[in-house]
């Protein structure tokens, strides 16, 4: 038989048994589509999370108080010594490294904000003028914290958009004095809404100079020191320098944890990639399971078509011809199923992207290739048994429809 004739014959029999074909197509395409959808979701989540971290600045080194490593029964635990506070002077000492381009000490707390008779709880961020660039934030109007001495507690503040809307409503906010806890601060700027930035919702914070925050929250201790380095390569030396410098300043006690943004991104990247593989794998199993369905339906199809196979043999088809005919039919079906599955899957991904623009749900290339290969090979593999059964039919019995 000529190959195009075999294909055409297979195509006609797929068309001839419409219900059977549609059932198998559904099984196949839903599995293929689920592989694409699930991996696209996983991949989208990975990109979203790493993207969010990257938006914090990729060359960022973060210093936090306390040692995150378990030290076992060391002297400090025996003596009940708590880690030393991270202070503004510690932060100042870190500026000496040549690769440090920006540095922002950070203090965080919750206080009540009020203006006239309106009030609400807010997160206040005590920092310096550098944090704006360091965190890639933008101003909607006004100006940011002045480039003053870190120790000066200037009574000014920059507020998030939502705070502005809720406290001031239709009134102009710039230049107004608001009350934060016991003190009064003048609004000098409003942050542009750039959405959530993982840890803090920029729309709902109030930023004041770090010294003001220290007195407002009544603590000399910093929450974090954020450092931006010149390049990715210089991060490691900045990490070492930070640990050593602060250790020296804290009487040889290594009581801070220094992490790089890179490491955090990498960790999340690894976790989410593993997750994507896992869901992709689960979906691939469902694809293989649909192969078993294909086998069942093919077996039924072969027994339905016993007389036809007997006839083909009587007309001069060899076992090999029959085997090729059935397998070609299976491949055509798998190809069609994969094709329909890709349409479903990619449309689904498009719908997800439409509904959740933040999640860039594109199925990764490996998932597309894998689902294609798995679909075709399961289709083929699970058709071998029915095809062999068909090719071995005794034509005399087959013609009688047995």
């Amino acid at each position: 038989m000529l190959t195009p004739d075999i294909m055409l014959y297979g195509w006609k029999s797929l068309k001839g048994y419409r219900t059977r074909t549609i059932l198998m197509l559904m099984a196949m395409s839903i599995s293929v589509a689920s592989v694409l959808l699930l991996t696209a979701l996983g991949e989208g989540a990975r990109r979203y999370v790493t993207g969010e971290f990257a938006s914090l600045g990729t060359n960022m080194v973060i210093v936090m108080p306390g040692k995150s490593e378990t030290a076992g029964m060391g002297l400090s635990t025996m003596m009940g010594v708590t880690p030393r506070d991270l202070t503004l002077d510690d932060a100042r000492a870190l500026t000496r490294h040549s690769a440090v381009t920006r540095i922002a000490p950070l203090n965080i707390g919750a206080v009540e904000v009020s203006w006239k008779n309106r009030k609400r709880e807010v997160t206040i961020l005590g920092s310096t003028s550098e944090i704006l660039k360091l965190r890639h934030w933008e101003l909607a109007s006004g100006q940011f914290l002045p480039k003053a001495d870190w120790d000066r507690a200037t009574p000014v503040c920059v507020i998030g958009k939502k705070i502005r809307d809720e406290i001031f409503g239709a009134h102009a906010a710039l230049g107004q004095w608001i009350r934060l806890g016991e003190n009064r601060y003048r609004v000098i700027g409003i942050l542009a809404s750039e959405g959530r930035s993982l840890d803090v919702d920029v729309e709902e914070i109030v930023i004041i100079p770090v010294a003001s925050a220290q007195s407002l929250l009544n603590t000399p201790s910093l929450f974090r020191i954020l450092i931006e380095t010149k390049s990715r390569e210089s991060m490691l030396s900045v990490v070492d320098f930070s640990i050593q410098t602060i250790k020296q300043r804290h009487h040889d006690e290594e009581d801070v944890t220094v992490i790089t943004q890179d490491a955090v991104i990498q960790t999340f990247d690894n976790i989410l990639t593993a997750l994507t593989y896992a869901v992709g794998g689960i979906a691939a199993i469902s694809l293989a399971v649909s192969g078993i369905l294909i086998m069942n339906v093919m077996l039924v199809a072969v027994s339905q078509r016993t007389a036809e196979i007997g006839l083909l043999k009587a007309l001069g088809a060899s076992s090999k011809n029959i085997l090729r005919l059935i397998l070609t039919e299976a491949i055509l079906l798998s190809l069609l199923g994969t094709f329909v599955g890709f349409i479903f899957g990619l449309t689904g991904c498009w719908a997800i992207r439409l509904a959740l623009p933040a999640l860039q749900a594109y199925p990764p290339l490996w998932a597309m290739l894998a689902s294609f290969i798995v679909a075709i090979s399961t289709g083929l593999l699970f058709s071998l048994l029915p095809a062999r059964k068909a090719s071995r039919l005794d034509p005399v019995f087959a013609l009688q429809g047995h």
């Binding site: 000529l2 006609k12 068309k15 007997g310 006839l311 083909l312 043999k313 060899s318 076992s319 011809n321």
Partner: protein
């Protein structure tokens, strides 16, 4: 052209052995018109299937065109069936999803003939069977007589030397039956060896040679005078 020597065909039914064909010896020359008659279970269909290479003898020798069939492998048998043997069945055995034209084309398709040549041959066959206006009809849109004529066109499309018909009129009314027989006989007049298995004694009398079978044996083998 067909020579059967000591052919036996046994079936195992439960723990009993049934001798469907019991020591058959016969010769059929090219262009003969043979009818095979006998009661149900006398082995006439088994004989036809064996001549058509659909079934295999338990023992004995079968020569077709001086070739020993018993030596052939499955592939060669399939090829021989395709080239030299045409089948016409009582139940027509047309593929329902294919048109008349496509059904007739099947043996050529299986033989791997190029589409152009196929279409020419099918066209001629449709013409000679008077089915030109039915070419694109599916089997369920055809009358019984038309279906059997499609089946005959399919059986003869590769210009085989032997045409085997198993109760070709069994599913047809009187008139279409007569039509089909006329068609088969005109093919025989043009040289094809025609072997018809039938219950119909009237049909049996039309053939030039009549074989009667009982219990897997040839009871009588006689020439008819028409």
């Amino acid at each position: 052209m067909i020579k059967l020597e000591n052919i036996h065909r046994d079936f195992q039914v439960g723990d009993q052995t049934v001798h469907a064909l019991d020591d058959i010896n016969m010769q059929i020359s090219q262009g003969e018109y043979l009818s095979v008659m006998g009661p149900s279970g006398s082995g006439k269909s088994t004989l036809l299937n064996l001549i058509g290479l659909l079934d295999h003898a338990t023992s004995g020798l079968y020569f077709l065109n001086d070739q020993n069939i018993t030596d052939m492998d499955e592939q060669q048998e399939a090829l021989t069936r395709n080239k030299h043997i045409g089948f016409v069945f009582q139940a027509f055995h047309l593929i329902p999803r294919l048109t008349a034209q496509e059904n007739i084309e099947l043996p050529l398709l299986l033989a791997g003939i190029e589409p152009d040549i196929r279409h020419d041959k099918v066209k001629k066959a449709l013409h000679s069977m008077n089915l030109m206006d039915r070419a694109h009809h599916k089997p369920d849109q055809l009358s019984g007589g038309q279906r059997q004529r499609v089946a005959i066109a399919r059986a003869t499309i590769t210009e085989p030397s032997v045409l085997l018909a198993d109760e070709p009129t069994g599913n047809l009314d009187q008139k279409s039956g007569a039509d089909v027989i006329e068609t088969l006989e005109s093919l025989n007049e043009r040289g094809i060896t025609l072997i018809v298995v039938t219950h119909d004694s009237h049909l049996g009398k039309r053939s030039t040679r009549a074989i009667k079978m009982v219990d897997g044996r040839i009871q009588s083998d006689q020439q008819n005078t028409r």
